[in-house]
């Protein structure tokens, strides 16, 4: 892993894929807030929406774009020599936070035409970012597996409020292990962890044989506010416990992979953390 240092020649991004085996449990919210949190720490971040048919990243941020991964794929295919991924990104910015987005195709038909190898090439071309966050859909598709392959870590999300969801979380985890993904690469993240539920988190950890890497609390009102405002939680609900929890998760993802990384941007971090404290998150 390397971090944005102007002098470094070889670098590659940390790729965090946000994956789950149950749909509709907050992957996109997690992806957006990871991107925003990392950007807030001073990293160069790109968020790729690879929920190709029904991606929600632009929706949740109230953005519009005609440039999408579908356009990028066409351009890469037609004119590989003049292709630059930069031309297909759109920026989200608010205050000191700015990150880029590679939007999902606008039309189902375009989504249907995507090619796994070309998308992999496109994601690899994002290597000038410090972090690439990939929002996936809830299936073991060829595309998702290719993305999990090139990911540094897999942020594997589960919501344990419903028996079928738990079954799918367990089956998904076992499948990832069977597919030879290292356990250290798979980060179990429980979403809506403190919602009223019949299933105990300890039992889930026992079932999986692995503790949760992080637990995100249930905070429907803040998420709602965030989606309605079209802004990440740090702006829409700065004081919420969920915002704080995302900040902790970002902390885990910035410090853990390599201590040096944090040191190189330590000046940034301290400034931002002071601002953070001032704003109460």
């Amino acid at each position: 892993m390397a971090v944005a240092t102007k002098t470094s020649i070889e670098r590659s991004s940390v790729i965090i894929s946000v994956f789950s085996t149950t749909p509709g449990i907050g992957k996109t919210i997690i992806a957006i807030n990871l991107a925003a949190g990392l950007a807030h720490e001073g990293y160069k971040v790109c968020l790729a929406d690879l929920d190709l048919q029904f991606g929600d990243v632009l929706n949740y941020l109230k953005l519009n774009s005609v440039n999408t991964v579908a356009g990028a794929q066409r351009a890469l295919l037609d004119n590989p020599s003049t292709f630059h991924i930069r031309d297909f990104l759109i920026d989200y910015s608010e205050g000191d936070v700015k990150f880029s987005i590679l939007p999902a195709p606008l039309y189902v038909y375009d989504a249907y035409q995507t090619d796994v190898q070309l998308i992999t090439d496109i994601i690899n071309k994002l290597s000038y970012f410090d972090y690439v966050i990939i929002d996936l859909n809830s299936m073991f598709s060829a595309l998702n597996l290719a993305m999990l392959d090139i990911s540094t870590v897999i942020n594997y999300v589960g919501v344990i409020d419903f028996l079928p969801a738990l079954k799918n979380y367990k089956i998904g985890y076992d499948t990832l292990i069977r597919f030879d993904y290292e356990e250290s690469k798979i980060r179990l993240v429980e979403n809506r962890s403190d919602s009223q539920k019949l299933i105990n988190a300890h039992d889930v950890e026992r079932l999986l044989g692995e503790p949760f890497y992080h637990k995100l609390p249930n905070d429907y009102p803040s998420v709602n506010k965030s989606i309605n405002a079209g802004k990440p939680l740090m702006f829409a609900a700065p004081d919420s416990k969920l915002t704080k929890s995302f900040d902790e998760l970002v902390g885990l993802y910035t410090n853990r992979p390599e201590e040096k990384a944090a040191a190189e941007t330590s000046s940034n971090v301290s400034i931002f953390s002071k601002i953070g404290k001032f704003f109460g998150f």
Binding site: T22, I25, Q53, F54, V108, F140, I171
Partner: protein, 368 residues
């Protein structure tokens, strides 16, 4: 009492071999044989037959199925074929045939087929209903399961549930069953199966409702070829009057193929962030662009709150299509599904059950 049998067969060798079997069985009395369709249609009523074997490999005979059904009301009309041909079978069933049988056959096999076909329900083509949802988590599976049980209850006919959500099918857990055979087995064996040998692939959940399960590991989904799945679904329509398919989320070869042959597609959406309506619109546009005038694509919105006509209109305006079915929220459903008791007891007399019951009525009316 023995069946009074008429055999219509233009191949003499085949005729001899069939007669050989039928004449040795006390269950069958061959009252006449014909090589020609028109002779059979014109003369057979003299013998008051109640079971016909028609050679469907002969196109003239295949096309005459509706005439036989019309002329000999109440009689069983079995199409015969040396190799299972799903399209011919389909045509015969649409013509009102009781079903089809592979020849040569044994007397025991005939009785098995007749048993299978008579419990199926009315001698009408099956109705194939598939549940599609753009992103998933729409209540699709719950709805499919409850609809299956209500239709079986209302009609007394047999209903099949096919869990084609191949990677993460939830129907076995909803019913708390562990079927021995799954869609993987069915799709791999389908070329060699007949309705009689295929029927045991289903797991009976309750009388008249049976389940064909999804694979137990996500990677097994890859073993299921879309065209084999289509064949499985088609053979299911031969032994069940209603076939309900729970599809995986989004457009993929499996969902497109199954929707292509479906009579009704329910596009199921649960409103959460609000953008789901946008996804449903995209989905409806996709289906409209492939409209062939055969299937009906209906929109279903689950957990609609407030559950009012005003809200229906509001959703419809945003969607650009009518809201065909609205399902209200029912928290008790979660605990029922959680405990695998879906087949035993549903919260009765709730708005939820009334809505799904209304949905069942529409489905039943469509097939009549």
């Amino acid at each position: 009492m023995a069946y009074k049998v008429i055999v219509v067969e233009d191949n003499q060798t085949m005729m001899d071999s069939m007669l050989n079997v039928l004449r040795r069985s006390p269950d069958f009395e061959v009252v006449a044989t014909y090589k020609n369709v028109n002779a059979a249609l014109g003369q057979a009523s003299m013998f008051k037959p109640n079971l016909f074997f028609l050679n469907l490999e002969n196109e003239e005979m295949l096309n005459a199925v509706p005439d036989f059904v019309d002329t000999f009301r109440g009689a069983y009309i079995l199409g015969t074929m040396s190799q299972w041909d799903p399209l011919d079978v389909n045509q015969a069933m649409e013509g009102g045939a009781t079903g089809c049988i592979l020849k040569p056959f044994t007397a025991k096999e005939i009785l098995e087929y007749l048993q299978l076909y008579s419990v199926r329900g009315q001698r009408k083509p099956a109705e194939l209903i598939s549940f599609f949802s753009p992103k998933g988590r729409a209540g699709r599976t719950t709805l499919a399961a409850i609809l299956a049980m209500i239709i079986a209850e209302k009609t007394g006919e047999r209903v099949a549930l096919i869990d084609a959500d191949l990677q993460f099918g939830d129907l076995p857990i909803f019913f708390d069953v562990e079927p021995k055979r799954t869609l993987v087995d069915a799709t791999q064996d389908i070329k060699l199966l007949t309705p009689v040998t295929f029927a045991p692939y289903f797991h009976e959940i309750k009388p008249r409702v049976s389940l064909l399960s999804s694979p137990d590991r996500p990677e097994y989904a890859e073993l299921i070829a879309p065209d084999s799945l289509v064949e499985v679904v088609m053979m299911t329509t031969n032994i069940f009057r209603y076939v309900i398919v729970d599809l995986p989320a989004g457009f993929n070869p499996i969902t497109l193929d199954v929707c292509r042959i479906s009579d009704i597609v329910f596009v199921t959406t649960m409103i959460n962030s609000g953008f789901e309506i946008k996804h449903a619109k995209k989905t409806m546009e996709m289906f409209s662009s492939q409209d062939d005038g055969h299937r009906q694509v209906k929109t279903v919105f689950t957990r609609v709150n407030p559950f009012t006509e005003e809200n229906r209109q509001k959703i419809a305006n945003q969607l650009g299509y009518p809201v065909d079915v609205m399902i209200p929220n029912e928290y008790r459903m979660i605990s029922v599904a959680n405990s695998g008791r879906l087949a035993q007891g549903l919260p009765q007399d709730t708005q939820l059950m009334k809505s799904i019951s209304g949905m069942a009525d529409k489905v039943i009316a469509f097939g009549r």
